[in-house]
Amino acid sequence: MRSLIDITELDLGEVDALIAKAEDIIAHPEKYADKCRGKKLATLFYEPSTRTRLSFEAAMYELGGNVLGFSESQSSSAAKGESVADTAKTVSCYADVIAMRHPKEGAPLVASRNATIPVINAGDGGHNHPTQTLTDLLTIKKEKGRLGGLTVGLCGDLKFGRTVHSLISALSRYGGIKFVFISPAELKIPGYVRQGVLEKNGIPYEETTDLDGSIGKLDILYMTRVQRERFFNEEDYLRLRDSYILTQQKMKAAREDMIVMHPLPRVNEISPEIDSDPRACYFRQVLYGKYIRMALILMLLGID
């Protein structure tokens, strides 16, 4: 019985197999329509997350399975003080696989150690979110046709965003990757990612504060939100905020085949006028998220 708590638990072969499975699901959805007939997914969401929860639920329904669960802790026995361990043991009696979102870091790991069914980490605070990383990889594979030989720009909050750190680790396993980190000085990539992932693996990268000056060399631009609460003072935030808003004007300098990704939700860092630009793929990214979750559910349930 296998769970997925952290993306690093999957080796390169397993990630590639999941991507290949998702691509097959996209190409032949009818083959998979009954694969999970009679199986149940429990979505245990201790905090609201519309996108991730609906993505898991849609994934299970499209595999012919059923879904049960809760979407906030107030409607679960956690409100009565039940431990994550006990909830995991109980739900194991009802369902075949669990997807858990929890505000506390490490909660899905505790669940996986106590459940008798596979547990998928659907996000634990700002810690891990492995299905977002798988979603990002499938998006890149589908949109660019490859996972290696790419110049990837990451823009915005590169210090606190675990989504970004996971993606850097995951892409660093493929050859010919070059990163361009575009962020204010206050939100640069942390040292443990720079030394522990990039320098350790000899991955070329550059750091800049200038989005306009670097957009032209990118194959992928991955946008993230610059959050007000990350700054010590309001002045710095207001000074920096607008320089990391992607506009049509900025997109003029980008290549014709560059893609724009974003883990969503977007606030104001991508102007809505870009949504109709074929290079904007963040809503397609949402769709790929459903397919990779279908592939993951099949893998964890041991269904081919």
């Binding site: 431990s83 994550v84 506390k104 870091e105 490490g106 909660a107 790991l109 505790v110 810690h127």
Partner: protein
């Protein structure tokens, strides 16, 4: 200064000078009702000076605590007045129930029945990280 040699018990030797009291506290030696001696700043040819703890009872000491606080200490088991076992303590790979995670976002902050587990992530330092949230453990001197 003379401390009687022990017949049955344990000698924790080669403690870095100044860490004897930290070990005394973390090993829970204040709960014992046998004789316990902490000898501080003992002259040592290798170390310059060192601390030594002598426990006049054959109790099991938590070698994880020893390895975490001061890797390189030795534990001598004494029986019938003779050293029957001598162990050099290395840095432990896993620490269970020794230190607490101080990250308020960690699941252990709300579910107190969970065992506190830390894994060695970098022997240089050394750096231990919480098994649940991966937060870096604070230095043992601040515990």
């Amino acid at each position: 200064m003379n401390i009687d040699s022990i017949k049955e018990g344990i000698v924790i030797d080669h403690i870095t000078a100044g860490r004897g009291m930290t070990l005394y506290r973390l090993l829970g030696l204040d709960d014992l009702d046998c004789s316990v001696a902490i000898i501080k700043n003992v002259p040592s040819r290798k170390m310059g000076k060192k601390d030594i703890i002598k426990i006049d009872s054959d109790i099991g000491v938590d070698t994880d605590v020893l390895g975490y606080v001061d890797p390189g200490v030795t534990v001598d088991v004494i029986r019938g007045g003779k050293v029957v076992e001598k162990k050099k303590i290395e840095l432990p790979e896993v620490l269970t129930g020794v230190i607490r995670c101080s990250n308020p976002r960690c699941i252990t902050s709300t579910e107190e029945n969970l065992p506190q587990i830390f894994r060695l992530s970098d022997p240089k330092g050394p750096v231990y990280r919480c098994a649940y949230c991966e937060a870096r453990a604070k230095d043992h001197n601040s515990n």
